[in-house]
Symmetry: C3
Subunit: 528 residues, 3 copies
């Protein structure tokens, strides 16, 4: 087949003045018709047959195909980031629209890029709604909400794959699902179904940060999709994750590969200056209450539900999520109370929220890293009847299991009175059934709560970790203990932390006794 230069007089004669058709207007109804389109070349894939140019004009993307000879690069003069003006015929190929190039030329980039920018700015402009609640912190975060929502909408328009990575607990799932309920309808609107599965993914992260193992896998699959299907570099949204020092290496790595990262988190991000923290250097958007003087009581589920409304104002069935997330994360304060009220208005009592949170944690435990659009989605009320059935089914078994586990924990724990403080110690890894729910963290929490005493501290011991819960009236800060360990006992390889009164210290097994003694000493010292 020869490259055919079309001599369509009517069009050609006006070529210099013809206004190219906006790509967004090229829909399935236009199959068989001929257009002039103009777009920036965002990717070029040489197949064993034709050459594929991915064109973007600020309104939408399309694949334009040119064929000279099997496997031979067409239009060698046109490179990535160039602007191409082409006469094309619209065809369908494997259920996707494709523009077959009849003739084309390189165009000046500067003016066109300006136009693309304007179009993107216009079309990806986020909603700017009232927040669901009154909150000074949220108002201070508004510019950051607008920026994050803009970047997400832009990614959808550019047909960039979106990967939502969220913490695998109830708050993380609320955050991820809230975003999904705003993003997925827009992705589906802009693409055909197959693309909707390819261009949007959500995956839970077991660790409370973006592990190097996870980024390695995400990147491996993203790069494969880029090579196989000509997709663009993805945008990764880290929800209930991503703000801390431990996330930096993973995020830096993404940036080298041209991926973009958006962080929506409520974990302590380290020192803040000028509303920025360490991770800001490597991300295109960062929403975190600590950046504007807030704290973790505005949890990720709350933040992401609000952002969902900036992305897609009709996002449905998300208004109870902040109340649920806050209940699950034991949030306090006016914001939580307002969200709780909203959830109640939507028909969820506090007890129902607690049961739902418990069930989500339970499912998350067994799902691990499996992405399931449906399972937790149903628990989170996609179908309200199924939600009720599921929770009724699960909660009895979960509660029974938890009661049994508490009997075990209470039997094996040791209690030591030190001054006015009670230290509860339990061999956490040796009193739980490997793999079963509830796991160590939950069990230690339950044991701690069972004392119902603000002067109790509970230590759940494992070979290479201590999970700690500290009563409200005790003066201690787990993050500080870790800091001191790192300074004074570097040979223990101590890491971790969490919140001031709830967290986990990790270390090498050889340091076990040393770490336990050090921890107890620190607590004694600060409570004398």
């Amino acid at each position: 087949m020869e490259r055919i230069i079309i001599k369509d007089r009517k069009k050609e004669s006006n070529n210099s003045v013809a206004v190219p058709t906006e790509i967004v207007g090229i829909t399935k109804e236009k199959i068989g018709q001929r257009f002039i389109i103009k777009g920036r070349v965002e990717n070029i894939v040489q197949t064993s047959g034709p050459t594929l140019f991915m064109l973007f004009d600020g309104t939408a993307s399309i694949t334009a195909k040119a064929f000279i000879k099997a496997g031979e690069r067409a239009y060698q003069e046109i490179n990535k980031t160039d602007v191409m003006e082409a006469t094309v015929e619209i065809r369908e190929h494997n259920n996707e629209l494709e523009a077959e190039i009849h003739s084309c030329k390189k165009s000046l980039a500067q003016d066109f890029n300006q136009l693309v920018l304007e179009r993107v700015n216009r079309l990806a402009k986020p909603e700017n709604p009232e927040f669901m609640i009154k909150s000074d912190i949220l108002e201070k975060l508004r510019p950051k909400f607008l920026n994050a929502a803009f970047e997400i909408k832009k990614a959808i328009m550019e047909k960039r794959p979106i990967i939502v990575r969220h913490h695998a607990d109830c708050d993380g799932y609320c955050a991820g699902i809230a975003l999904e309920r705003a993003i997925l309808p827009l992705v589906q609107e802009h693409n055909d179904e197959r693309d909707a599965w390819r261009l949007y993914k959500r995956a839970p992260s077991k660790a409370p940060f973006y592990e190097y193992m996870d980024v390695t896998k995400d990147l491996a699959f993203a790069l494969e999709d880029m090579e196989k299907f000509g997709l663009k570099e993805p945008v990764i949204i880290l929800a209930d994750n991503g703000s801390t020092h431990e996330d930096v290496l993973a995020i830096k790595k993404l940036s080298i590969y041209g991926c973009k990262v958006i962080v929506i988190d409520h974990h302590y991000p380290g020192d803040v200056a000028d509303e920025k923290s360490e991770v800001d250097e490597f991300v295109i958007a960062h929403v975190n209450p600590y950046l504007v003087g807030g704290d973790s009581n505005l949890c990720a589920g709350m933040l992401c539900t609000e952002i969902a409304r900036f992305i897609h104002k009709e996002s449905d069935n998300i208004k109870f999520l902040p109340g649920l997330a806050g209940t699950s994360d034991r949030c306090k304060g006016s914001e939580y109370e307002q969200y709780l009220k909203i959830a109640e208005d939507k028909g969820y009592t506090l007890e129902q929220l607690r049961n739902t949170a418990e069930c989500v944690d339970f499912e998350a435990h067994y799902l691990r890293f499996v992405e399931s659009r449906s399972l937790v989605n149903d628990l989170l009320g996609r179908d309200r009847d199924k939600q009720k059935d599921l929770i009724d089914l699960l909660i009895k078994d979960i509660n029974k299991r938890k009661e049994q586990q508490l009997i075990v924990a209470k039997h094996y724990c040791k209690v030591e009175q030190i001054g006015s403080i009670k230290i509860v110690e339990v061999d956490a890894a040796r009193i739980t059934n490997r793999g079963d729910y509830p796991a160590v963290g939950k069990t230690v929490g339950m044991l701690h709560d069972s004392f119902n005493d603000k002067r109790v501290i509970t230590l759940g011991l494992g070979e290479d970790f201590i999970t700690i819960r500290i009563g409200d009236e005790i003066n201690a800060n787990i993050n500080k203990i870790v800091e001191h360990l790192q300074k004074e006992k570097p040979h223990t390889f101590a890491e971790g932390g969490g919140h001031e009164h709830a967290g986990t210290i990790k270390f090498v097994p050889a340091a076990f006794s040393e770490i336990v003694n050090f921890t107890k000493e620190e607590i004694k010292k600060s409570n004398n």
Copy 2:
């Protein structure tokens, strides 16, 4: 494209009296032709292009496509479970038949549903063959066989995905493969190839029950297939699994999502009343010899081979499977002896069956949860020559490995004489190579057998389990020991059991010594 109302006079004029074509008659040869069809709407999928209606008329299913405007729902008046009568043209799309709707109307459901029921009853009617052997228990189970076979055939007709989950040992594989050799040809007959891979899956389960982790994954994938490909809710067949209390939560969960469960098992199902046990409430078919006064000597491989013959009378190459399964599961009694005779008639000596069983266990060990249609299939004689080659290759290495392992076990075990009983104790987890074959259970069994003494009891100790083998002349019941532990020592979180004289007790590691002592005391007491 407009929705076109066809004015085909010849057909239209007779419309009220025209008998719709049975869907089963619409084959590839009919592409391009026009028909009136009538079907119950079993699923509706709105794509970004047309709306898809899955129609079922009791003879077969077809996808009917209607298009108004990209992404717009066609025929909004027609909902799931409605009956639709449509004039369609048959087309091919991605290698699958599709009915393009030209015009359609809603029909009265009642009469049609009656017709569908009659057709299904007629077409899904199982074979009702003589059993391969004489057995009162089997005869008593006949109505349950007929019911299970009917439900499986119906699922195939309805294009419902079928998932066979079987225990990952030789008996479980025999059971799964026997079913597969009956089901898969029918699925292939009713569908094109791609569907045959989508509509039938088989997966081994490591645990001897349907773990919550497994059901979570199965459900996640099934729900994804439903959303992605418009498939129906699957039917899950649990083979050599599914009858016990530990299966109930997983099965209940499936039912909430509209999945159907069929259990074919020979494990003790707890109390039986009116030929029903606990699990019957949640399943559509349950075949288990205990329900009619039998016991585990009619093993799953036997039951499933017989059921295979109720499903598809021409099922080939399955007649030696009961003998193999029984040999592997150490079955006793007349049924086993008759099946063994049949296997011998098919050319399998007892030694060959033993070697085959050993090889299947070996492969199963390394396959873990990977579904492989071919590997174990070949060991189980799909290709008799390859089977022979494989067994010849493997058995030498397996036997060598087992001999080596036995040397290790004998070296490290301790023998204690208590009255007339010998207790053999071995630190089972510390004398096996992690991950390699033979694993703990097999090793403890080999050690026990090596004493060849009916007054020996062998305890394989691990951090959180004891694997137990009890000689024939010893009076003890592992299930009772577990019951007593649960009652008297709830803090040990004891679980498990198995057969009376072979099984495993699991517990939290902290309870290790207490459990070992308790177990020994129980055995001493009942043998004084």
Copy 3:
């Protein structure tokens, strides 16, 4: 549709003398045209629609399709390995070329098979370049290089899937990537894209040999591809793996299923006779310096880079790989020095090579068994700029992490002076963070190096292993220790080994103290 016997006079009349078209000449440009082709039937797949014959004529392969009736086998007289002569029309189906059979007959096999052989010999003839360096060992290996390269090229021509399995360290990755940069362009040239992903795979192996678990998975997927897509039996290339006794069972298993194995390795293959070792019986090509009197200083990265040049002379961007691999594997000798010089000419300083090796090990650690065509590919210089960026990013974090780990190791190690030898002992499994980099082997190596003393021996102890590093001036051989253990203490189940002065002994945990004492005694004895 009927099977149509074509009466195209011009062609038919000359049929007996017509020279069939070579399949290699049938390209996309030929769609719609009619040809006579002749080929050996390499596979027959009966679909629910047509029957598919995979034809190979020594120049290329094509799928020929015949249709009688849905699901019915066409041309029953033609079987696998028969030769078929057919009049076909070229069509496109799902983006792949397909030959629709209009008429066909069986041909005499003998002459044609001779022709196929000649064509294959001609077309798959490898390049025969000068080696990159002067080396007697390489020259002695030349016939083995030619044979391996021939078999690989033949596999590509025959459309046989190729699986490269390489050790998951830097040498293994260099080996795998060097092969990939020669093989993949040829696969892409002979096939369309989709095939290129289906017909070529590369996967790292965690163990230093082909584990039974790995072969089980590879085979399960290969057999599925054969059934699903009608692919042929694959060729497996084991790189930096495959020569030892531990590989034999896995390789034997492949051969039963008709898979072919090529080994390119530098591990000690056991006794050599007539340039062959134990594994030769089961493989179609084996390249290993030990076979011709060389040793492991010609590492796998070197061997595979040279072979790449025999396969595809234009292989690009591979010349620095031998220097990198040798640096990573601590090779010595003239060959390494020459390769190092070449890498320097390509712009890589020794320090850059060391950093690159470190980064590859780091990535390999986190990739585990995930195949990623892109990630390590970039580290290995596919895109030189990205390579630089990546290494700059990673090396700082890696070095910091290693420094921290060394502090831990030095703190917990014990040093014992025995005569003139220092024994350094460290509880290796208890001083590393589970899952994090650097893992045990690396840590023990670092600790050993930190003493910088040729009279030091370092023992990294774990529950079921000892990792050993022995100083240059110490007289000891790890492989001999393992041999002695196996003979004198079979109950320990001792296995493993490695190089003389660096390796790992594995055993059952119960044997721990016995093994440690035995090992120390052996070393003392040989250094008195």
